[in-house]
């Protein structure tokens, strides 16, 4: 098959909408445009039925017992906000302490920072060099004031999959609510809120080949019944937890996307893991001082994150961006102008954080694309190293740490 450029290999930032999902959505923009809260006519019933069906499809994908446990939001960020702030506000009388990790996505960390300003205490548990959080470290962090444990299911940069089931058991043992940001895991690997003991789970449609602008928060109803304070007030939609007219076409698309993921996940995951491993072998066998970030096995099948010593990430992307779309943990590619705190949390040097490149594969990634991106990456790294004063010094045997660098 002929290659089509640019090649998209940035699926952990977003995914294309599956054409089957688009087909499912279209009628809900025009003919079936009803408001699901309109209780007295067929337009409303039709819309409500469509939303309920999507709720079931999503409930099934995450192993929820009851579709009513699925609350629709505008996306992962809102779900995370609602989960963490909702618990913090609802259980303020019980305690003011939250345990989370250092490598959560920005939405989680920023919510926690805001809560800290409001008088809550947050413990950011560090991770091991492979990105796994030590469950014992979470146990140590728990106090009698702890009301929430919030740990991501799988990391957005390095793909490391946490031992959520062990964390779920710990949370249950201590009687603490457990929220997991599963935006990167749902639809990609089997996720089950029952077996993992998850009380609140955030996910989003646009990472599972659904539309942007819709997400969900799973809120456990039984054993225990979790209550959250709503963060958006209004008509009392979504069992009072999230008011606002439901975006029916988006929700229908989300449901269909979830259904497809449930059907193809096993096969798709195996195929992508094989392609990912091929890309990894290709690059690591040809490039010296290239380091795999994250856990080599406990990792999302579509994720590959490598730091290339002596070259800066944005310059690597610039060499590739005419024909492929990737992302980097370099400061120059982040809105904060700081290098990746995730790579930093692994104990890697800041230089290696600046040098990290994430390849994330997706449903439509082909073998030809893998071969092309692998070969071009190797070329670009070689070219940039020829241009790198650090590479030159290292090859001369100079220990870069021995140099007194004059920072700007």
């Amino acid at each position: 098959m002929a290659l089509k450029f640019p090649i998209f290999m940035d699926s952990q930032s977003t995914t294309p909408v599956d054409p089957r999902v688009v087909d499912a959505m279209i009628p809900y923009f025009t003919e079936k445009f009803g408001h699901p809260a309109s209780r007295n006519h067929s337009f409303g019933w039709e819309a409500e039925g469509a939303v309920d069906r999507a709720r079931e499809q999503i409930a099934r994908l995450v192993g929820a017992r009851d579709p009513k446990e699925v609350i629709f939001t505008s996306g992962g960020t809102e779900s995370i906000n609602l989960a963490i702030k909702g618990v913090a506000e609802m259980y303020r009388e019980k305690g003011n302490h939250i345990v989370t990790t250092a490598i959560e996505q920005r939405a989680s960390l920023d919510v926690c920072k805001r809560l800290e300003r409001q008088g809550y205490q947050v413990t950011y548990v560090p991770v091991r060099p492979d990105g796994l959080v030590d469950v014992e470290a979470i146990r140590q962090a728990i106090t009698d004031k702890t009301i929430l444990i919030s740990v991501m299911y799988a990391n957005n940069e390095i793909g490391t999959i946490q031992d959520v089931a062990a964390i779920g058991r710990l949370a249950k043992e201590k009687g603490i609510i457990f929220h997991s940001d599963a935006t990167q895991a749902v639809g990609k690997i089997p996720v089950n809120v029952e077996t993992a003991g998850i009380d609140l789970l955030s996910c989003t449609a646009h990472l599972i080949y659904g539309p942007k602008g819709v997400g969900a928060l799973y809120v456990r109803r039984r054993a225990p019944r979790v209550r959250i304070a709503p963060q958006i007030d209004g008509g009392g939609h979504e069992r009072g937890m999230r008011s606002g007219t439901l975006p029916v076409p988006l929700i229908v698309g989300f449901g269909r996307a979830a259904e497809i993921c449930g059907e193809v996940m096993g096969e798709e995951g195996a195929r992508l893991a094989k392609l990912r491993d091929r890309l990894q072998d290709m690059i690591l066998s040809k490039v010296d001082e290239a380091y795999l970030n994250g856990h080599p096995e406990r990792r999302l099948p579509h994720n590959l994150n490598i730091s290339f010593a002596y070259v800066e990430g944005e310059s690597v992307l610039m060499g590739l961006n005419k024909e492929s779309a990737l992302s980097s943990g370099s400061a120059c590619t982040s809105s904060t102008l700081e290098p990746s705190y995730v790579i930093g949390a692994l104990g890697a040097s800041a230089e290696l954080a600046h040098s990290s490149i994430r390849f994330s594969l997706h449903r439509f990634t082909t073998e030809e694309e893998i071969e092309h991106v692998g070969a071009r990456t190797i070329e670009v790294i070689k070219r940039l190293r020829e241009m790198s004063p650090l590479y030159e010094l290292a090859k001369e045997g100079v220990d870069l740490k021995s140099i007194h660098w004059k920072a700007e």
Partner: protein, 136 residues
């Protein structure tokens, strides 16, 4: 963020990449930046000891595309200038030429620092000689 055409051109066709032999006469070397900050520039000048004119310049840069472009441009501008003229190159000249956006201004600052460091190194090594002075 889209890059300006000139940045892309310097990135794709960097001018004067490389290093001079350490015993090159009239050599001045500047090494600025820090790996943990994500950019390091090495800029070298080769000054004609009789005329005080920069005959050649080379660079190597660890950094983003704009950092590479800034140092590549700096080497182009250095060639043919006297040491005194070279010290007048300002980061704002680089910003204007490459149309760098505000978030990339630090790349041009680093390039100016690299020029200054290379000139200072040259002057230090050749202090007390006539070389380095602008010919009358």
């Amino acid at each position: 963020m889209a890059y300006s055409e000139k940045v892309v051109d310097h990135y794709n066709n960097p001018r004067n990449v490389g290093s001079f032999a350490k015993d090159t006469p009239g050599l001045g070397t500047g090494l600025v930046g820090a790996p943990e900050c994500g950019d390091v520039m090495k800029l070298q000048i080769k000054v004609n000891l009789d005329t005080g004119v920069i005959e050649d310049a080379k660079f190597k840069t660890f950094g983003c595309g704009s950092a590479i472009a800034s140092s590549s441009l700096a080497t182009e501008w250095l060639k043919g200038k006297t040491v005194d003229e070279a010290s007048k190159i300002k980061n704002t000249d680089i910003v204007n030429e490459l149309k760098l956006p505000p978030v990339k201004i630090h790349c041009s600052v680093l390039a100016e620092d690299a020029i200054k460091a290379a000139l200072a190194d040259y002057r230090e090594k050749h202090a007390g000689t006539d070389a380095g002075k602008t010919p009358a």
